[in-house]
Subunit: 271 residues, 4 copies
């Protein structure tokens, strides 16, 4: 059994936790590797990934490890997250079940975002929550949305969000999008402050790749999961498709992905 | 080849059209039956259903014939509809292709709405667009939503809509719901004038049946597709699941179901 | 000093409270009258109105007494209200200040709703929160809005709310309207589930009377403050204007009307 | 009679129009001055300001001349604007009425935006539409709103708009704000993509100055009327109050400011 512990080296309590867990797991006979964001294990195949950190750390883990198909356990190290499955003080008592593989798996769709300059791909990156196209100054930009190579019309406003169901409770929700069941294979297209006031959020089956092209979009940016930023040049186009593999999240409680959503949203707002 | 023509006997131009088409189709060697809403054919198996009328007539047809799996062609007899595939003046030139089966099929998810008084089922009805739970007087009612037998919390307000993707462009849209791709198997749960202002539209995978129960809902009604109404008594509960078979709609143009949605919405609003 | 105590005879604790306060106030030299909803004082002029009850009781008091200009103190007898100024357990310690007139006054705009059958007025009633026009069954109705005798176009959907600033935190908020400062003299026009999706809430200066006429509105109702209901017949029209006098509410704390609005909204939703 | 013609030197047709009008007006006995954005008349008192250009040019004119109280006529030189009163081809026939003062005046509230670094004012600028506080990257910022020195709580999200009634049909509308009658003296506070999903637009009487302070707002900008931009540093605070004088707009048609709003919005969206 090979276990990879992923932590955030800038947050000392996650470093400390990783050390503690390493000792425990080794004592239970597991092989342990650590990825602290800088030091990474070599190209070794692993059986379980334990992420010590908030949603941001899990998102980073998804980008790097989701396509390998390894089961991922998110351990909540601070404020309540949407992606973590258990609290840090519960981890120790679950280690045996984890090593025995005694859990179910929730699959979360991942998106693959490919930015092209004309026809030439210049970046491909995975996203767990969303890709955002937005003006930098508070100025109207115009974007075209294509589904199956057919234009769905222009979006005028601050920009556009294309989210996964997992991302539907993040930025897309703030911009007025619906909450979408993670069991659905879908993209949520949510305009940000659209000047075409009857433009509405769309939920599109993820079997269709989407393409976004700027029509009039000087000084705009592309941002994936709040972590990867790049300028959105007028000659760029962005192709968004479902990644080949979903993120496979460890579920120890049997909870529905939907459970207590309202409660999480409210706590999130009050905090 | 057995063709059923369905029209609305209260709209003379659909009666007239049915007579014309009957003659044509017979001349082409088809057997023709007519359902005008009162006179109905006996229990005969048919190969094609042609609906002459607006969205309301197609919705009625779906309720009666969708589960038989027969392909349905909606012929638009008046203002532009969301469900009709061709205009009435285009029908004649398409008859040959129709009889030859030269078309593709778009599947539209249908819902089955079961109303129970305690444990006893008292009505089961199919729905193509939505089921609505609403107060009659402008008064707050409280409804509970259950997914997989777990409560998703209370909805306070004028009521609640549970829509199919097809219905996402109808009443649910007016109440603030997203537009959902008909290729998705999903329910859209949209609150109407919710007094809990952060209650948001949900899109839930249709593999989960939903249950709605009144918590405090005197003087409320249940309404399916704007056509079937009944009072919603405090001891009722309503179970909503995906019907066994989708509505199979004839697609002669190869158009994406999404095509020109914006245009249809706008025309609809201006008319 | 003549004080009128208004309570809700159906809520025993308000009856009890009224008796206690009557004794106290008499002991302090005041003349005391009681209105319990059925027994009412004769046509006597009063100097202070103390309302023992929730927002509903204060709304009823406003309808009956606002135009007399008497200062009104709302005493919160249960869950937190938007209109009450003090909690019931604080009343006793404030009696001296009340009798001495040691308080400031917050003015709240009141609306006058006049329903006409053709040209003939058939009902005139005051409203503190809102007048609602809504379909009874979940069916689209069409209403015309006129400002200064000019049409502002048709509203298609479940109906329309015309609210005062005080009412902007009640039903209008649930339907998507803004929160409006009670110091403004304005009507808030908020569509309910509008099928014309770009119809937006309007805030109109209250110097303009508004007129609402049904265009296609069978089976609709008019409802003032959730308390006065009548059917809305196709030949009716409703004229809404600002009442001659505002409701004059006693303010003992110097609090801004806006203070802690968010907190009140949240408590309201959680309760 | 002294008339100032204001045009946009970068738009040749407005330059040409200014020259034509200058000749006409001189022939009618008026003294004429020209402000083309670079060349400006000296400090001369004028009786009428004619703005040749779109809403952007009128907004610039308001910033420079509103406080002088001079009547302003907006002449629409291109696409339909919200602020222009007549089309360019109608101007010539109206010159006589203009010189005779045969028109009414619509007053539009103007805001004064004062940016302070700690206690030290570093910029004061007039605004006709709105002041926007927004993140540059798509990242959450936190802003505090104060009314009468009392906190109204934190706004988390992309940012915040404080608009005048005139600006309520511009950016604020896109972000979900209501349409507000220009006759009202009010500020409209509209959150942009608020992560606190029950944060709602507020309409606040303009007798209260508002103060906005960043709580956590690195990399944010302040933008007035889409024309004046500056970085919003963590130690800044912004005070927004009603300007001493409104913009006085010439009304030649007697039209209500509200007239045909829907039509203008729709044209704007389609264009």
């Amino acid at each position: 059994m090979r276990v990879l512990l992923l932590n955030n080296r800038l947050k000392p309590h996650t470093v400390h936790m990783a050390e503690q867990m390493e000792t425990k797991l080794k004592g239970m006979g597991a092989q342990v590797f650590i990825d602290n964001g800088v030091q990474k294990p070599g190209p070794v195949s692993i059986d379980l990934l334990i992420v010590l950190g908030g949603d941001g750390t899990i998102i980073r883990a998804a980008r790097e490890y989701a396509q390998s198909g390894v089961p991922v356990l998110g351990v909540n190290m601070g404020r309540v997250g949407f992606l973590s499955n258990i609290a840090s003080n519960q981890l120790e008592e679950k280690l045996e079940r984890l090593l025995a593989g005694d859990y179910s798996i929730d699959e979360r769709m991942v998106m693959e975002v490919e930015v092209c300059d004309g026809d030439r791909p210049i970046m491909t990156v995975g996203g767990l929550n969303e890709v955002v196209f937005r003006s930098t100054a508070p100025r109207i930009i115009e974007l075209m949305l294509y589904v199956k190579e057919r234009s769905q019309g222009v979006y005028r406003g601050d920009g556009l969000i294309v989210a996964t169901p997992t991302g539907s409770t993040a930025y897309s929700l703030s911009a007025g999008g619906p909450i979408v069941d993670p069991s659905l294979q879908a993209f949520i297209v949510t305009p940000i402050a659209s000047s075409i006031t009857h433009r509405r959020p769309l939920v599109i089956g993820a079997q269709h790749p989407l393409v976004i092209k700027p029509q009039d979009a000087r000084e705009a940016v592309i941002c994936v999961d709040g972590q990867v930023h790049m300028e959105f040049e007028p000659e760029y186009s962005v192709r968004i498709k479902r990644a080949a593999n979903p993120l496979r999240m460890v579920n120890l409680t049997g909870a529905l992905l939907f459970d207590n959503l309202e409660g999480r949203l409210r706590r999130n707002e009050i905090q």
